[in-house]
């Protein structure tokens, strides 16, 4: 399966001495570059997982270990093996989550990745790996503890919070976000982007999230110019905070309607820029998630099906617009397997 001469790392179990022996989860690390692999190994072991390294052989076949919870995949060097990996993952029950790490900013690569059935986690690689982002992502998968904006904030930072009871709340909240960012000296264009993300988050929570008792969308077909007042129990929660480097925003509803396929298929359709890019049906334009993704460095979608959805957006506001725009993007879709 792999080149056995490759410095003896093949299929070795890399035990984290801080966490043995217990019921640790198996993580399969499929990575080609030895130095990067070592760096990733350290980060993954720090998260308490048992890490097994692998690269595909010439036949493209992988050894997916028993009870594997997560596969971490090097897209930039091993993209030719991506299809085979996803096929094999699809045959394993229960299938492990797949986390693709890539430095790509190429739209055609994103379309290719979004076309892979079952792929829900895309982590951006800059010059180096961001250990915080990787550890949070891996922990969320392994612990099945996916909610809360605080996981992405520096300790001690308390988010500001707004309850949304109506679409008419939007302008007030956008103004609050804008004033806050202005006060901390954020780049003007980044303020506009952040307000755009908050706008789409709120519109989604008010019009798209609520469902009737029979599961039918309640307000999704309404014109977005028609003010909607949410019933008690339908309210959404908007939160935001910054540590001066990253702006984090989240919106949470109590419906859990988003599913990974909808997210990836909407994004793929929008990136392809075809004649169907804009929905002309009643309701929204079908561009909200795309606009949000393009306005963030990291979009996280947490879903407990039929119970709860949380969208989290992270933006690098530490410098200029260009600093923000040059960074590749991450996308995570987490499904809570056990209702909490």
């Amino acid at each position: 399966m792999t080149d056995a001469k490759d410095q003896g790392w093949h299929n070795e179990l890399m035990d984290n001495p801080l966490h043995r022996p217990d019921g640790r989860a198996n993580v399969l690390l499929v990575w080609s570059d030895p130095r990067e692999r070592q760096a990733l190994l350290r980060i993954l072991c720090a998260s308490g997982a048992r890490v097994i390294c692998e690269i595909p052989g010439t036949d493209g076949v992988f050894s997916i270990p028993a009870d594997c919870r997560l596969v971490v995949f090097d897209f930039d060097s091993l993209r030719a093996s991506m299809g085979q990996l996803m096929t094999q993952v699809g045959t394993v029950k229960p299938g492990p989550a797949v986390l693709v790490v890539t430095a790509t900013r190429d739209k055609s690569d994103l379309i290719e990745l979004l076309s892979q059935d079952g792929l829900t986690n895309l982590v951006a690689k800059n010059i180096d790996f961001d250990p915080d982002e990787l550890i949070v992502t891996v922990q969320k998968i392994l612990r099945d503890d996916i909610f809360k904006l605080e996981k992405y904030l520096t300790w001690g930072i308390s988010p500001a919070e707004e309850t949304i009871r109506s679409s008419a709340d939007k302008e007030r909240i956008l103004e609050r976000v804008g004033n806050y960012l202005n006060d901390i000296g954020c780049n003007r264009r980044l303020i506009g982007l952040a307000k755009g993300v908050a706008d789409e988050f709120i519109m989604n929570a008010v019009y798209n999230a609520p469902v009737e008792a029979n599961g039918k969308p309640k307000y999704a077909a309404r014109a977005r110019s028609e003010v909607v007042y949410l019933e008690p129990g339908e309210e959404a929660r908007f939160r935001f905070a910054s540590d001066g480097i990253t702006l984090a925003m989240s919106i949470e509803d109590r419906f859990g309607r988003l599913d990974p396929w909808t997210v990836t298929s909407y994004l793929r359709r929008c990136f392809m820029k075809g004649a169907d890019q804009i929905d002309q049906k009643d309701g929204g334009a079908g561009l909200g998630l795309y606009c949000v993704f393009e306005s963030l460095n990291h979009l996280i979608i947490n879903v407990a099906p039929h119970q709860r959805t949380e969208l989290i957006g992270l933006m690098d506001i530490s410098g200029s617009y260009r600093t923000f725009a040059e960074r590749p993007k991450s996308l995570n879709i987490f499904l809570q397997e056990h209702s909490g």
């Binding site: 302008e171 103004e175 000296g185 780049n187 003007r188 264009r189 506009g192 307000k195 755009g196 706008d199 789409e200 519109m203 014109a223 977005r224 110019s225 929008c270 820029k273 075809g274 004649a275 890019q277 804009i278 929905d279 002309q280 929204g284 334009a285 079908g286 561009l287 909200g288 795309y290 606009c291 393009e294 200029s320 617009y321 260009r322 725009a325 040059e326």
Partner: protein
Amino acid sequence: MTERLAWAVTLDGDVTRVELTGSIDEDSGFAALAKELSAATTIRFDLAGIRRINSCGVREWVNFVRSLTAPHRIEIERCSPVVVSQMNMISNFVGTARVLSVQASFVCEKCDHEESVLLNVEKGQRPALGVVVCPRCGVAMEFDDVEESYFSFLL
């Protein structure tokens, strides 16, 4: 402070100039403007004052601009960075319109001062950015975007 879309229509010889300001969103009904422009031949939109466009606004704008077919001749000038982003993200965002000029943001890496510079553009060509000097500290400012992606709507 609300940023509702507003417009001002003026005549400049044969050209009907339309200055749009504010946000293009779900409340931006363009029907009244379309009616006002029905007799115009050459329409030149000034989009320097567009601060935000949300996903519903994209649809409103696209349906409006695509409805302005012959005999209308459409030109768009002074596009704000927000408009340029949408031109890059949305297929056929300006319909048959010819884009004459865009704003380019520059930032001073020394003092964070931001400046906007108007660039004339031609389809198929990436414009030269030139040198922009910070009015506060006198050093050369940096283009505050990624050139390759900002001007991709021209290529």
